[in-house]
Amino acid sequence: MPSKKYEAPGAEITPKEVFLNRRKFMAGAAAAGVGLAAAGGAMELLEPHKSVMAANQLKTVGSQWNGNGLNETSFYNITHYNNFYEFGTSKSDPAEYAYKLKTEPWTVEVGGLVHNKKTFDIDALMKLSPLEDRVYRFRCVEAWSMVIPWVGYSLSKLINEVQPLGSAKYVKFVSVDRPSQEPGIMNVSIPWPYTEGLRMDEAMHPLTMLTVGLYGQALPNQSGAPVRIIVPWKYGFKSPKSIVKIEFVKNQPETTWNEIAPDAYGFYSNVNPNVDRVQWSQARERVIGAPIWKQLQPTQMFNGYADEVAGLYKGMDLRRYY
């Protein structure tokens, strides 16, 4: 049975509808905002967005994570409201500037403590394993959430390919760092390149995904093209975009947000409604795209994946290892 969607995915991609909605918004804003200082806050929403990067359809197979009963967030909202500081701190910046990033050619260097160091071309990564459609919840640390139909396969497939050494305890991911193609790198003063990491068992978990697509198409640039990691039970910043390097290491790696504010952003950053280290509550979340009076919903432990992943953290004090 098809789940009820806030907007049908087919219709969302139709530029006309998007265009008309925006027109409606702008006309209303213009009428209301004449000469008023307070209206300035809406101006950021009026910026015309660059259209979503042309994407090609991927050949995919089904998976057990078919999002049974979840309302998928519209393609437009997924691709026009996200954080990707390499293009700026505003959530509309990625959609506006990500076209500047050249994603061809693209290679991912896989190295560190492994038997088979190897640099993968993006085409090779696309063929390493059948591409699966997986519908996952996505929970941002800013307390908003989406439901996203990703395309990809378990990261473990790639890890098995390179055969990590017994001494490899963590995996480090490095995102692309090209100031000339990513305006945010010059404008946002955080340590670049963006670096993330997982414990080995987290990286090997079947839910952890090497992701190359969205809504059956190749990833748009603003969503982390051409390849990214998705860890659905952790806050979104633990899922690095546009990765160029995967390194297997012995010690817990430095990760970007943890480096910026260690008290707020822990290495684990598992979605946990009972523990909040940032300034806002993590007990609830706002569903993106829902009408304003229906946005608020309770956040689930491990973002709803407790049955699958709680075992990874058995005996760990999740308040301490936040």
């Binding site: 918004f25 905002g33 307070a38 806050g41 409201y81 946002v188 910026i260 706002r286 009408p291």
Partner: protein
Amino acid sequence: MPKWLIVVLKVGVHLACLLPVCWLVWGGYQNTLGPDPTHTVTFFTGRGTLRLLAITLAISPLRKMFPKWLGWLIKFRRLVGMYAFFYACLHLLTYVWLYAGLSLNAMVQDISQRKFITAGLAAWLLLLPLAVTSTTWSIRKMGGKNWNRLHKLVYVAAVAGLVHYWWGVKPGVWRPLGITMIFVVILVARPLISAWKRREDPVPVKIG
């Protein structure tokens, strides 16, 4: 300034402050406030409060600087100030309804644990007595001096509001900088203008 022009301008202020709220309500109903409408409403009402508060606070220094030209601005100070409080109430309501989900438990937790919410609530609580005593009757009842003293709280409220804004955004976000600079200019302008006025019209020396 002719009276009719003041009336026209006042109607303009009412419209400029109320129409955006109508647009917000209509947009919320139609779901055209962007992907995260709660966030849109929060920042719209929050920034609106600070902007209107800045306008309110700018009126006195402007009048002092140009007493001949801008004296009439005093007729607008209470009006804009009340709209600042109105926007602050909408902002608070947004939190109570759309963030805390009307749960008293959630609110108590937030206020005790989250310093940015504590600062925001403090700012609103500081504005409350000012709004309550904004009537001419109150000024008469309290006496000008006491009333003035009480209404100095508006500066504390403005600072609390700015702190609330800075603490509320993520590290690396500089969005609150613009409005902060505007408040700095307004607050610094007051003593400077007073000093300058004193030099222009020195207090006459009493001759024994």
